[in-house]
Symmetry: C2
Subunit: 169 residues, 2 copies
């Protein structure tokens, strides 16, 4: 990335950096936890860490169809970590399976994002009709990725509460 | 905003929407709480809601100098909610004072953001030297605003844990 690149190319670079730095922090945090640690609740009676990790992975997997990058990679993950609450009577991924799914989802998502031209970034997402998009052109892929990135961050903020207290956070 | 706007103008619109929707949710959440509710901890032994709100406000106030919009509006807020942990031996704002500061900070920040041309959005932030910026042009205002937005979201994710449990979140 050079300062001489077009403004829109530099803004895409910013968005990708924001996404990547968020996803990398989340990866580093969860990948370092043992299966036992992943059973820990973020606060008494709240979600376990493994559920929160799966929830973020499942949200990201849902991005593929939403931004037109194809079907979800792990269709079963939605019932495990979105539709059902934590500790529902349903089998969920082991830590190892989840790590594998998480890696695949994020690698393929980033590859997809990186393949778009600036104009393609601003194409409509699939949950808005062509007609509505004419009136609401902000309902595009770029907006979706920024908004999902903040959503991902809000769940990560919850996850780190499971760790010993940092007096300032 | 029209689909016929330039790509970079549309991307700025996306970034502003992401910021605004995040700040609005946070405002709605905290402004609805009584002073007594703001004393609640987000989890046993963790920060009180008022501290977390102040922390987000103080981070946002720190954006003014960082992106070259002038000095902080409330210089004393940093010691109250960033430098010192919650329950330090230091006087902090009342709920009412904090609400007033929060409103001022966010209103003025958004006014500042809205006044930049696309090229101005991509100017360097003040924590990077002109020399380093030549090599690292991503260290600009746009990147800072995206990254602070995810940071703000991560603390909001923590704040909502103080509320009665949503079985899925």
């Amino acid at each position: 990335m050079q300062a001489s690149e077009s403004l829109e190319t530099r803004m895409i670079d910013s968005a990708l950096r924001a996404w990547r730095s968020n996803a990398d922090r989340i990866d580093k945090f969860f990948a370092a936890l043992s299966p036992e640690q992943l059973e820990q609740e973020i606060a008494p009676g709240r979600n376990r860490l493994i559920y929160l990790w799966g929830h973020i992975a499942a949200l990201n997997d849902g991005l593929f169809p939403l931004v037109g990058l194809g079907p979800r990679l792990y269709p079963e993950i939605e019932a495990m970590f979105i539709t059902n609450p934590d500790r529902a009577a349903i089998a969920i991924y082991s830590a190892e399976q989840l790590k594998q799914a998480w890696d695949q989802i994020n690698e393929k998502l980033l590859a997809g994002f990186s393949g778009w031209s600036p104009a393609e970034w601003l194409e409509r997402h699939t949950a808005v009709s062509a007609e509505d998009f004419l009136r609401e052109p902000h309902r595009n892929r770029y907006t979706v990725v920024l908004s999902r990135n903040t959503h991902m961050a809000s769940h990560f903020g919850q996850a780190i509460l499971a760790m010993p207290r940092d007096p300032k956070l």
